[in-house]
């Protein structure tokens, strides 16, 4: 069993078997992370470049750690400016990197499809580390990994994504991956942040947390960005917090434990109260640890087979 594609561009269209292969592979890497010596040799002699055209701390560090622990040579390139603004196109940047004989490229970019574009113009394996509001496949995988670790299976698990679905690549990768694995996915947020026809992806839409709380096992809470308020998509952070913010008080009314996830970085006491973020049912830090294992698995499956 191996992956169908030589790139990881998104979870949409990947089979249950492929997703399971990645999750299973990550289990062994997760064990390595608890060893005193965390380095293994599969990518020795391979060069990976991390191209981050959008600011990111956690994802970039997570990828770098994963790459180094697999013994790859790592180069990272980060710029907040878009490639176009800098005068060099993404294609030229990619071609230049290619000329330096790179084996794998990890790309984070604000444009949906940027990783697809890159995969067409370079020979290296391309891993999407987030392309605009499209996909963030390794985040989706690490969320699935964390849930499988917590619940034993994803089949029948009830997961609700809360917040700004329209602009969230995490939401899309979660929807594609979790649905393929047999979980039931719902979304909850202001109607102005729920994209058109989302129901056709097989998810139900809620606008009141109270309506969904009794029916979920997991809340995956998305970060709300202040600039959405400025573009007229919601009135205020205060109102957002009152109606869509998850608090311990709200969850406690359910009378049952609900697992809390967040892709980070958290706006504490806006979309998620501090007591829930740090509470006993929060798996937010496990997500971070598992992120390294998942990225090792993906790098290994795509890179070590070359």
């Amino acid at each position: 069993m191996k992956l169908q594609s030589r790139h990881l561009l998104g979870l949409e269209g990947m089979s249950k078997e492929e997703l399971t292969l990645i999750l299973d592979t990550a289990v062994s890497f997760r064990e390595i992370l608890d060893r005193p010596i965390k380095k293994v040799p599969p990518l020795q002699g391979k060069t990976v470049v991390n191209l981050f055209f959008e600011s990111s701390t956690r994802t970039r560090i997570s990828f770098e750690l994963a790459e180094r622990r697999l013994s790859a040579d790592v180069v990272s390139f980060a710029t907040a400016a878009s490639s176009v603004g800098k005068g060099e196109t993404l294609k030229d940047t990619a071609r230049n990197i290619e000329a330096m004989k790179i084996d794998m490229v990890v790309i984070r970019h604000s444009a949906p499809g940027a990783a697809h574009f890159l995969s067409r113009v370079v020979d290296a394996n391309v891993i999407n580390a987030g392309d605009g509001a499209h996909e963030h496949p390794t985040q989706g995988l690490l969320d699935m990994f964390t849930l499988r670790e917590t619940f034993g299976t994803l089949e029948g698990l009830r997961v609700c994504l809360v917040g700004d679905i329209t602009h969230s690549r995490v939401a899309r990768s979660n929807i594609y991956g979790l649905r393929t694995m047999g979980a039931e996915v719902t979304v909850c947020g202001p109607q102005t942040l729920i994209p058109h026809d989302i129901e056709r992806l097989g998810v139900r839409v809620y606008h009141r947390l109270e309506d969904i709380i009794p029916h979920v096992d997991v809340f995956n809470v998305l970060r709300i960005q202040l600039e959405r308020q400025k573009s007229g998509l919601f009135p205020s952070l205060r109102e957002y917090h009152r109606f869509f913010g998850l608090t311990k008080e709200r969850i406690d009314r359910a009378g049952k434990p609900i697992t809390i996830m967040h892709p980070g970085p958290i706006n504490r006491d806006v979309e998620l109260s501090a007591d829930l973020a740090d509470g006993e049912h929060s798996v937010i830090l496990q997500q971070v640890t598992n992120g390294v294992a998942i990225r090792m698995a993906v790098l290994y499956l795509l890179g070590a087979s070359n």
Binding site: S82, T89, H109, A111, G132
Partner: protein, 427 residues
Amino acid sequence: MKLHLKGGRLIDPVSGKDEVADILVVEGRIEKLGTSLSADPSFQVLDLKNKIVAPGFIDMHVHLREPGYEHKETIESGCAAAAAGGFTAVCCMPNTNPAIDEESVARYVREKGKQVCDGIVDVYPIAAATKGRQGEELAPMAELVEAGAVGFSDDGSPIASAEMMRRALEYASMFHLPILQHAEEPTMTKGGCMNEGFTSTRLGMPGIPSVAEELMIARDILLLRYVRQARYHVAHISTRGSVDLVRAAKRAGLPVTCEVTPHHFTLTEDAVSSFDTNTKMNPPLRTREDVDAMKEGLRDGTIDVIATDHAPHTIDEKEVEYTQAPFGIIGLETAIGLSITGLVRTNVLSLYQLVEKFSTNPRKILSLPPIRIAEGERANLTLIDPEVQWRVDVAQSRSKSRNTPFHGHQLRGKAIGIINNDRYLLF
């Protein structure tokens, strides 16, 4: 020039003719028309059995990019592409640099059109409706008409202000020329790069809602009802709702017309899933339901014209992230093939109706003299092989640009020649 067009099927909607006949063309005029004509050996004989002889096709919506963007296209390369696609005339949009918003630029475009490609393609400028296409002050329309403008548009941008649109309609009505609206409510489309709907949701792509087009058309139709004598033409219509609005306005007797591009009756938003920037245009590719509505509109006459919105961009401009890529595709050389393949062979339109959409109707809308295929008339003709199978090879394009989503498509039907201004070209 002496040509003997032998045994072709003449389709001439202006005279209501559809018959097999021979034509003798001498020095650019139709000298004789009849069955089984004989001619002396000085005539070049074209065997047109099973071929169509139609009045010259006109593409009333192209971007020739000159002056200002000659790296994308020039009047010469654009006319060469038009000729190769079977057009004897094009109307070029004013979003050049400088814009076609004053006499000298309009004259330059017209004159240049006469000089290139032996003058076989007539170039009619569409002038800006407002100065600099800024939507704030009227362009000098009377002067522009004198310089050869055949219509007014701020294409690329809508005339967003209702007051400005009202005045543009009123002022243009004095010349019996239409305002061609790029219908888009701009407050709803900022940052959008594809149709808003299921596919944009799947891809996480900023959307352009169909209602933004429909709102502008609805507003303009209300203005038109108020202004009365004016004429209004919707450029590149793309949604079911828009077609419904135009249909209702026509039924109410309002002077509204509209055009559709071949890509909007051929492709759906699904094509964007490839993230190929040659699927990025404005208006964007819509849904299957919208594509079906384009065909219904063509069939029932709501949609008067097929026009390409030929919009050349270089490979470097297009080979960028989807959100950064400019809107538009080239279309002159694939228009007839896509139309015969997608409309005639599927019985949406007859060949006769196709000729109306490509020649008779656009000329009427722009108040250009009608083309008759009759003795004594100037020969302005497009010759078509409606059956030939061919594959689109963008490397063969005469345009300076290569931005088409149709590369490799297998099509039926193609222009095999054009005759105009005492010149002819055979392909």
